[in-house]
Symmetry: none
Subunit: 71 residues, 2 copies
Amino acid sequence: METEDRLLTPGEVASLFRVDPKTVTRWAAAGRIGSIRTPGGHRRFRESEVRALLEGDAGAQATFDSGHAQP
Amino acid sequence: METEDRLLTPGEVASLFRVDPKTVTRWAAAGRIGSIRTPGGHRRFRESEVRALLEGDAGAQATFDSGHAQP
DNA sequence: ATAGAATAGGGTAATTAGGGTA
DNA sequence: CGTGTCCTAATTACCCTATTCT
């Protein structure tokens, strides 16, 4: 239970995903990622959510056994 | 131990390996290489992992002999 | 209040995903 | 079985200016 609701800027999220800040804005506009709007209209993103999205299957090092067994 | 290594685009990885970006996509789809998906569906690859793969036999890291198991 | 950096918004090229084929 | 090339659709990157944030 992390109560850490640290907010990240579009530029931060963009650097994490290796994309353009505009792309992050587009994700928020499309509802693909939760966003908080500042009274001025700028967006902020929850670090926990961003980290969850970054946890793709990059760490999954396929336990590739010699699965060539043919029944 | 969690290092924030940079992410590479399919085109970058393809240039490093001198293959087609489509081939890199196939590697990711087959689980031969870890991949992170953007909310839009595009893939990003960890530079550290790619560099480790680029080491080839030089490092003989023997993560696992992928595939050709001897009969 | 002023300055500098970052962000929002729209529009257009380049890259990528996916399937099917050689 | 793995890789390269064909196609279409979707996503992303870079161009601009005005507004907002520090």
